[in-house]
């Protein structure tokens, strides 16, 4: 059980020295309680306080960084089993895998694709995260060559090097050792050599074992060798095994019952025999590094979107950027529909508007992500906001009419909006599903009048 801010405060020096960067000890205690600060920032803690606070405020799952530069990704530092309890913080890195036996041009093309492919959704750029190279050939030379081909593309993508042969790994690290590649994998047979390579190059290391006992033992062995940045591969042979082991690791890690499980989880979808299902379950059930074969367009977009959905903070709805959005190619007589910038509201309305096939404008006002009902109740959605937004985006230049359709739940402010803007306000339906009928019937009549 995590300590509450008050309990933490009691252990702090209460000097308000500000040396931790926070204005008061209370503020620092709040951050510690939320896992957003490190105990070591406080210079005046006695050892006893430090150990008590350290054990209970340090993130139960270690944050591990893979790669360097702009495209590096960080995983771990998760605190819950269900996203609704708080949120999932660090989206898994999804890594495309190539074999070192593939032709150079194929390896190069896949690398460039991961470098360039971008899906823009809800104002975020979604990308795949890295390239995994598997030593399928068994040859150290071939492996090193394949890695060099990847690096030649200047993609600066985090690499994952898949081989249990220390010699092959050593050869490959010549090409990318300083880029913090993820090394896969240390096993009971090779961990000493793998650890020394990881140490030498300062790389995170995956440990692989197919039982809980085996994993715990390996983690102990590797930490004893001085490696802290570990990732766990429970070598699931099927999807069921993945679900059970991954849940086990997450649950026992966040409850701090098994500290050796306090590391991010690795999943190679191919090893389960199910690429798409592996991705779905990996994303939703606690995998932090997911290795997959390159995806075709359908699954590629679906996977990125699912990851974005699952890793959205459930307590903070995604907000749309306020502005004037077009549905179809609206002309100067097209209807203007105002609504809030809560993304779910926006997308729901947009979907129904597209289905209605009536070209129109959507005027999105900034309610800080509140829904219509809440924004009206809280006074956030008011006539001043609507007036200012109409002006800011020069809506009067886009249409010749002066009619604004507002959501049904915003009806209580319709009169005031009319006064403030001089636009005629039409109250639309409460349910977005009815907007099509509304445009076809009421708006048509109104536009004709």
């Amino acid at each position: 059980m995590a300590l509450k801010a008050l309990d933490i405060y009691k252990l702090l020096p209460k000097k308000n020295c500000k040396e931790c960067g926070d204005p008061t000890c209370l503020t620092f205690a709040m951050k510690l309680a939320g896992g957003k600060a490190d105990v070591d920032l406080c210079p005046y803690l006695d050892d006893n306080a430090k150990s008590v606070l350290g054990a209970s405020t340090r993130p139960p799952i270690r944050l591990v960084k893979v790669g360097v530069g702009e495209r590096n990704f960080k995983v771990g530092e998760e605190t819950v089993l269900y996203r609704h309890e708080k949120t999932f913080y660090h989206p898994p890195g999804i890594v495309f895998k190539v074999d070192d036996t593939q032709p150079d041009e194929e390896i190069a093309a896949i690398t460039r694709r991961v470098r360039d492919d971008t899906l823009t959704r809800v104002g975020s750029e979604l990308r795949f995260n890295g390239i995994a190279i598997e030593n399928t050939s068994g040859s150290a030379e071939r492996f090193a060559h394949a890695v060099s081909v990847v690096e030649q593309q200047q993609a600066h993508l985090p690499p994952v090097l898949i081989t249990t042969d220390p010699a092959a790994l050593s050869a490959a690290l010549v090409h990318c050792g300083s880029y913090r590649p993820l090394l896969h994998a240390a096993t009971s047979g090779n961990f000493k050599e793998m650890c020394s390579l990881a140490k030498l190059h300062g790389c995170p290391l995956v440990v692989r074992a197919d039982t809980a006992e085996g994993l715990v033992r390996l983690v102990k062995d590797c930490t004893a060798e001085g490696i802290q940045d570990l990732v766990l591969d429970s070598a699931p042979e099927n999807l069921g095994a993945f679900l059970v082991r991954s849940t086990q690791v997450r649950q026992l890690a966040i409850t701090r019952a098994v500290p050796e499980f306090g590391y991010p989880v690795y999943l190679d979808c191919e090893k389960t025999g199910f690429q798409d299902a592996g991705l779905v379950l990996g994303i939703s059930k606690y995998a932090s590094v997911i290795v997959t074969r390159p995806l075709t367009p359908g699954p590629a977009k679906a996977a990125l979107t699912l990851r974005q959905n699952i890793y959205t903070d459930p307590q903070k709805p995604i907000q749309m950027t306020p502005g004037l959005y077009r549905v179809g190619t609206p002309d100067k007589n097209a209807p203007v529909l105002m609504t809030v910038n809560f993304s779910l509201t926006f997308f729901t309305l947009q979907g129904y508007l597209e289905t209605s096939r009536v070209p129109c404008f959507m005027l999105i006002v900034d309610t800080e992500g509140l829904s219509v009902l809440t924004a009206v109740a809280a006074g956030k959605l008011n006539e001043g906001l609507v007036r200012d937004t109409l002006k800011k985006f020069s809506v009067e230049n886009e249409v010749t009419h002066r009619k604004l359709i507002i959501p049904g739940y915003a009806a209580p402010i319709s009169g005031r909006v009319e006064e403030a803007t001089g636009w005629k306000v039409l109250v639309g339906p409460r349910d977005a599903a009815e907007i099509g009928d509304y445009l076809h019937e009421t708006w048509k009549k109104e536009a004709g009048a």
Binding site: K4, K14, T24, L26, A377
Partner: protein, 676 residues
């Protein structure tokens, strides 16, 4: 004139004799429930003399059981009666009838037996039952009487002729027994549940005309056990039957059984929808106005006895719209009288506030403020369409019934435009307002044993449970204890549930055993304890909607409050939004509590920490907002002058400045028991 008690006794004896003489075997086709009443009551399948007698004896010589067995015997011997009589009705049809009952397309069931005085009387009663979505069964001479008046009979007309004699009314009971078994989960032989179902779930009434034999009187009277009201307009005396005039008998029966017709459309020449709520009526669009300082006006909603209210009645006292000059201001009194089995006097002000919404729902009617401050306008457009004062009354009467179907049984509206009467009634209303204020003001947490929960915010704050008490409104400021209570009455399975507070664990902190139990359950086991009046120990969880946050400032041994509107930095080193992000989401964070702004005015505020003297800092704007009320309260408590000691952003925005300031003014919190 038949004496019911006497006839019943004789009838029961005759039935006993006839049951003893039953012979042969008898069975109904098209049912899986044998003789349904006997089967439902005892679980025995009756098909012959011995079983009949056994069940009859087992049910204490019940006249209904006797009638069922005897009619089955008769039907087996003589065959079914010819058309139009239906006789025993098959399971397939019952299933359809049951469907319509659950579905709500039939509101209830009625049985009419006997011989009406005239065909016209019977036809009028049947028409009323049809209009009120009742399914009516007929037995005896009422049937030929209706036919002679040209009334069409049959399932499509919701009038079902069971048989030529009142004794066929027994089928009415076997239908209800089967509905109970098919739809009500009543297992055959479970007498207790059958009776409970018949009394509570089956919405059935019986109307009796003259001409029943003693046996038939015994049968009908026996139905009282099932909770059916027996109504008659003439011909019977004694007993416990309800008498009612022919014009009143259906309404009385339905009232008695609690069968309500839902209003769906409002017959007025203006649109009525929440979509019109925010439309204002400008001066140039206005036809007439009332109140708003231009003329006397008030509104009042009060509870009355059911007997004193005619549901749906709208009265206008004084000139109608056509007698008012365009553009004029006129006096107005809106008086709404309501009754309902679960209605309570405490709900009056909450319902009264709805007048505002409802009048605004009208397309062309506009309303602001409340009580004797109201301001109402009617638009030119509406008046041109034929809208009158009376229609506003109709709108109100209908909307109250539609929106509070389970709370209100009857609503009547009186609208006064006569100046003298408005003046007189306004005085009366003002007395009532004062009484209400006194009552609500005086309401203390200790006066009630039940608090209310609000879990509306669990959508995004999964374990948040708001506990609402008379002195501590919901932390969003939007729901008072009374609101919670009414919301629960209207929607018993909704987000506001009653909490029996139980015994006190810590009086000062406001921790109660019952509250803890409820909070643990409603938070899915996450929150074990909850103190209603403490910020430091087990404070209530925070969703995200709180109007303000109260939090400890250990350096100054005090508590500060910051409201949502304040965007600047606070002495805690955190702004409102940083704080909100840290403590929200349904967590319990000792030292921090989400509160409503008005809670600062409550005697319970900071009780756990030793009282309002703990308050060290509050944004200037919030201070200003609360100033008048808070200063008065402090003065009443002998703490005049304390208000000035509460710091704000003008005196301190850092903890260091605050410490200096509080020291300089000798703030009482500095000398209180240590917080941490």
């Amino acid at each position: 004139m038949t004496d019911v008690e006497l006839a019943k006794k004789q009838g029961e004896m005759q039935l006993q004799g006839r049951v003893a003489a039953i012979s042969g075997s008898f069975t109904y086709d098209e049912t899986a429930y044998h003789l349904p009443i006997s089967f439902a009551l005892t679980g025995t399948a009756v098909h012959d003399k011995s079983a009949s007698q056994a069940v009859y004896a087992k049910t204490g010589n019940n006249p209904i059981v006797a009638s069922e067995c005897l009619l089955a015997e008769t039907t087996a011997r003589n065959g079914k009666e010819p058309e139009p009589y239906t006789g025993f009705i098959s399971d397939t049809v019952i299933r359809k009838l049951g469907y319509s009952l659950v579905d709500g397309s039939i509101l209830g069931l009625a049985l009419i037996v006997g011989r009406p005085d005239s065909a016209g009387t019977a036809a009028a009663i049947c028409r009323e039952l049809q209009e009120k979505y009742m399914l009516t069964f007929l037995a005896g001479e009422v049937i030929p009487s209706l036919s002679s008046a040209g009334v069409k009979l049959g399932l499509d007309y919701r009038l079902i002729p069971l048989g030529s004699k009142p004794a066929y009314g027994i089928h009415f009971v076997d239908i209800i027994a089967r509905v109970a078994m098919m739809f009500g989960g009543v297992t055959p032989g479970d007498t207790h549940r059958l009776l409970a179902y018949a009394a509570e779930r089956a919405k059935a009434i019986v109307i009796v005309f003259p001409g029943l034999t003693d046996e038939e009187v015994a049968l009908v009277d026996g139905m009282r056990v099932l909770g059916f009201p027996i109504l008659t307009s003439r011909g019977y005396e004694g007993g416990t039957w309800i008498s009612a005039g022919p014009g009143d008998i259906v309404r009385k029966g339905m009232d008695e059984k609690g069968i309500r017709v839902n209003v769906t459309a409002i017959p007025i020449p203006m649109g009525c929808s929440p979509a019109f709520e925010g439309k204002s009526i400008r001066k140039e669009d206005m036809y007439v106005e009332f109140g708003g300082g231009r003329s006397p006006a008030f509104e009042l909603l009060r509870m009355k006895d059911a007997a004193d209210i005619t549901d749906g009645k709208v009265t206008v006292i004084g000139p109608e719209i056509d007698a008012m000059k365009e553009g004029s201001a006129n006096p107005l009194g809106i008086i709404i009288e309501v009754s309902g089995k679960t209605m309570k006097k405490d709900y009056e002000p909450v319902l009264e506030r709805r007048i505002h919404n409802f009048v605004n729902y009208g397309e062309g009617s506009w309303h602001v403020a409340q009580r004797d401050l109201i301001w109402v306008r009617l638009s030119k457009e509406a008046v041109a369409k034929g809208v009158k004062i009376e229609h506003i009354g109709k709108l109100l009467a209908s909307k109250f019934r539609m929106d509070f179907p389970s709370l209100l049984d009857a609503v009547s509206v009186t609208i006064i435009t006569d100046p003298a009467q408005v003046a007189a009634m306004k005085k009366e209303a003002e007395v009532i307002y004062e009484e209400r204020d006194a009552r609500i003001k005086g309401m203390r947490d200790n006066d009630v044993s039940t608090y209310y929960s609000c879990t509306l915010c669990q959508t995004f704050a999964p374990n948040h449970v708001c506990v609402i008490t008379p002195e501590r409104p919901a932390l969003c400021g939007a729901i008072s204890w009374l609101d919670g209570k009414i919301a629960y009455e209207m929607s018993p399975s909704g987000a506001n549930q009653p909490i029996e507070k139980g015994t006190a664990i810590n009086v000062q902190n406001g921790e109660f055993e019952g509250v803890n139990r409820f909070v643990k359950k409603a938070s899915h086991g996450e929150i074990e304890r909850c103190s209603l009046y403490s910020v430091m120990e087990y404070p209530m969880t925070c969703c995200g909607c709180f109007e303000a946050i109260a939090l400890m400032l250990p350096e100054v041994n005090g508590i500060m409050v910051v409201n949502r509107e304040y965007k600047g930095m606070t002495p805690s080193g955190m702004s409102f939004s940083t704080l909100a992000g840290t403590i929200g989401g349904g967590a319990q964070t000792p030292g921090f509590a989400g509160i409503s702004k008005n809670y600062v005015l409550s005697d319970r505020f900071l009780q756990g920490e030793g009282g309002i003297e703990r308050l060290v800092w509050m944004p200037a704007q919030l201070k200003e907002e609360l100033k008048v009320r808070l200063e008065k309260k402090l003065a009443d408590q002998g703490k005049a002058g304390f208000f000035e000691k509460i710091a704000d952003e003008n005196t301190a925005t850092t903890i260091e400045d605050l410490m200096v300031y509080l020291d300089s003014i000798k703030h009482p919190a500095l000398g209180m028991k240590p917080l941490v």
